[in-house]
Subunit: 370 residues, 2 copies
C-alpha cells in the first residue's frame, strides 16, 4: 500500500503508517458510532476517556511497565520537558544535576536546566564536533546528583546509545523523543522518560511521559504553575486542561499498529535494524563516496547522517532524490549534509528503494566532485 | 452539505466547517504538490513557512491589526496563558494585577497569577453564582496596575461582555478563547489577547496570541524558560520548537473560510446573532419550561446555557436530542443543566433544527416534571 506519491524520510514530523493515515482521514469526517468529526469531540466525552485508557494500557503493555509508573500525554514537546524536569527535581536544590552533552538537542536541554539550579556536564562532545558518544570509562556519575539526564538518540548528528547509562541509585531521566517505541528497553531502570510523538509515534503536538510514582509524589516546589506539575497532570489523567484530542488519538492508532500489525517492540527493532543496515551498508561500500558522519559504534538506527564529497553534490543528491520521489533527505539546518530518518513507519521497501537510488546516484556521479 | 450524521453543539472542541474537514481529510493522505501526508511535513519546510505567513496575514486582515502587533501560535491552551501573562508582566512587581472573576474560567486564571505576584480581584460574581456580569459602576480600575485581565466570554455559565473593559493607560489583557473571530472587536485597544483554537477556529492543541510589541520588548524576568518567553517565540515566528503543524494548518483553513465563504467578521457576527436569537427566543417564549441561566443583558452569543424544570427532564432532553441527531448538549460538568454552544461553524440551519426540536420536546413534556 502506498497511497502517497513520495517516500518520507523527514527528520520529523516523520512518516506514519498508511493504515493509520487512512483511518484518521476517515474519522476527520466522522467517527463511527458518534457521527461527528474527531476534531469536534469533547475531551470530557466517554469516547475520549476510553481513548486515553486504551492508549495508557497499550504503552504499559509495549513497555512492560508496572503499576508504579504513570503514563502522561502533555503538550509542549521535549522542549517543555527540558524545563519541567529541572523545575520538579532541581529547583531549590544545592547538589548539581548531571547532564551528558552529546549533540544539538542535549545542548538545548542544558541551559533550561541551569535556570533552575546547578548543573554538572559530565561529558561533552563539543570539541569532537559531536561525532561520537562517550565510552563508560569517560563517565563518572555522582551518587549525590538529584538526577542524571541524557538523550538516547541525537537526531541531528545521528548518534544513538545502545546501552543504559548512569547509576541505579540516582534518578535516571532520558529524552527518548526519537527512538521511543522503536525497540525494547529496560524501561523500569528509568525514573522518567519523555518522548514527543513526531518521530515514531504520531503527529507533532503531543508528548508521552512515563514517570515513576516516587518522583512526583512529594510536594511540588514553590510557584510551580499547575500545568507544569506532573502530579496534577497525573491526577487528571492528562485531562487537566483540554488536550490535543486528535494527536492523542493518532498515537493510539500507532500503538495498535505496533501491537497488531508489527507484533511488538522486538519485531520493530528487527525491522529497524534491517533498515539501518541497508543504508549504512550502502555508505560503507561506497568507497568513500558516501561518508557516514558518526563514529561507527555510535551510529543511530533512526537517523542515518552522511555527506558527499562536495556540498554541490549534496545539493544535486537532494534534488535528484526529490524528483525520484524521496522526501526530507536534507540534513538538519544546523549542520547541513544529508540525513535519512528511518523511523518506525518507514518501510523496509522504502529503504531498499532509497539504497538503490543511492547506488545509481553514485554510479552517475562518482568522481564528479571528489 | 452535511456529511456528518450528527449536529455538533459541543462546548469545545467544537464543530468545524464541513469544507475545512473535507480538505483536512484529503490532506491527511496527501498534500497536493508535496505527495506526502500533512502529518509528516517538516515544520522547517518552505510549505510550512508559507502556512504560518498566510495565517498571520489572514488574522491581521480579519482583525485589522497594525504592524506593532505580533501574532503567535503556541501550545498549551488558555491554561498556559494563565501562567505566561503573569510570568511576563507580574513576576517581581509590587503593584497588583487586576482580575475580574466572572465565572469558571476566570476563577482558574486567578490562582495561577497569584503564584507570580499580587493580584486584586476587582469584581467577583461568586456570590451571585456567576449569573451576571458587572456593570461599569461596579468596576474601579487602578492606573497603577501592571495589567488588567478579563475573559470576554465565560463558556460554562454562558456570560459574554458586549463592551471593552478597563483603562486605556493600563495594559488590557483578554482571554478571548471562546469568542475570538466570532465578531469584530476593537483589537487595538488590547495589549495582549489569547484564544485557544478549539471553539471557533480549529482543533484543540493550538492557541493564538496577539500581542503588542512594547509588552514583550523589555528584558524578560529572571529564570523564564525559553518556551514561555513571548519574545523568543515572536522572534522564532512560532517555530521555536516543533509546533503542531496539523492544528495550525486547520486554523489557516478556517481563516480562509471566514474570509472567502463567510465574508469577514461583520457578517460572521450577523450570523452568530441570528443563531443566538433563535435559541434565546425559544427559551423566552417557552413560558418558563426552558429557563436561561444568565442575566438577559449578559447572555452569551456563543454558549446558550439553560435549564429545564427538573434534572430528570434535562436527562431526557439530552437523550432525546442525541437520538434526534444533536450532539454535545449536556451542560459543563461543573454546573450541569443544558448548553448549546453555537460557535462559528454551527450553521443557522443546524440551530433552526435544534430550536424546532426544543419546541417539539416542550410540546411533549410540558408539565411532565414542572
Amino acid at each position: 500500500m502506498n497511497l502517497q506519491n513520495s517516500l518520507n524520510f523527514s527528520g520529523g514530523p516523520g512518516a506514519l503508517p498508511e493504515n493509520v493515515l487512512l483511518q484518521l482521514s476517515e474519522e476527520i469526517m466522522k467517527v463511527p458510532g458518534l457521527g461527528i468529526s474527531i476534531l469536534g469531540i469533547s475531551h470530557r466525552s466517554e469516547w475520549f476517556a476510553e481513548v486515553i485508557s486504551e492508549l495508557e494500557g497499550n504503552i504499559r503493555t509495549l513497555l512492560d511497565l508496572s503499576d508504579n509508573y504513570h503514563v502522561l500525554f502533555l503538550q509542549g514537546g521535549a522542549t517543555q520537558q527540558f524545563s519541567m524536569v529541572p523545575m520538579t527535581l532541581l529547583r531549590g536544590k544545592s547538589a548539581a544535576a548531571e547532564y551528558i552533552q552529546t549533540g544539538y538537542w542535549s545542548s538545548k536541554a542544558i541551559p533550561e536546566a541551569k535556570l533552575e539550579g546547578p548543573v554538572r556536564i559530565i561529558w561533552s562532545g563539543v570539541e569532537t564536533n559531536f561525532k561520537r558518544l562517550p565510552t563508560d570509562d569517560e563517565l563518572r556519575f555522582s551518587p549525590d546528583a538529584p538526577y542524571m539526564h541524557y538523550i538516547s538518540n541525537e537526531t541531528v548528528e545521528g548518534l544513538q546509545f545502545q546501552r543504559v547509562l548512569g547509576r541505579d541509585d540516582v534518578p535516571r531521566i532520558c529524552d527518548m523523543s526519537s527512538d521511543f517505541l522503536s525497540k525494547p528497553y529496560d524501561f523500569e531502570r528509568f525514573s522518567l522518560i519523555y518522548a514527543h510523538a513526531q518521530k515514531n509515534i504520531g503527529p507533532s503536538g503531543i508528548t508521552v511521559i512515563v514517570v515513576r510514582d516516587d518522583l512526583i509524589e512529594h510536594t511540588p516546589p514553590a510557584n510551580l504553575p499547575s500545568f507544569l506539575d506532573y502530579k496534577i497532570q497525573a491526577k487528571a489523567h492528562s485531562n487537566f486542561n483540554t488536550p490535543p484530542v486528535f494527536a492523542i488519538y493518532a498515537v493510539l492508532l500507532v500503538t495498535r499498529w505496533l501491537m497488531n500489525d508489527i507484533g511488538g517492540l522486538k519485531r520493530m527493532e528487527q525491522i529497524n535494524r534491517r533498515k539501518a543496515e541497508l543504508l549504512y551498508g550502502q555508505i560503507d561500500e561506497s568507497g568513500g563516496f558516501y561518508q557516514g558522519r558518526a563514529n561507527t559504534a555510535d551510529r543511530s538506527l533512526m537517523n542515518v547522517v552522511f555527506n558527499l564529497p562536495t556540498t554541490e553534490l549534496e545539493r544535486r543528491f537532494i534534488d535528484a532524490a526529490q524528483s525520484a520521489g524521496f522526501s526530507g533527505l536534507a540534513g538538519h539546518r544546523a549542520i547541513g549534509g544529508l540525513r535519512a530518518s528511518i523511523y518506525n513507519a518507514v518501510t523496509i521497501k522504502a529503504v531498499e528503494e532509497l539504497a538503490n537510488f543511492m547506488e545509481s546516484f553514485q554510479r552517475k556521479f562518482h568522481g564528479a566532485g571528489g
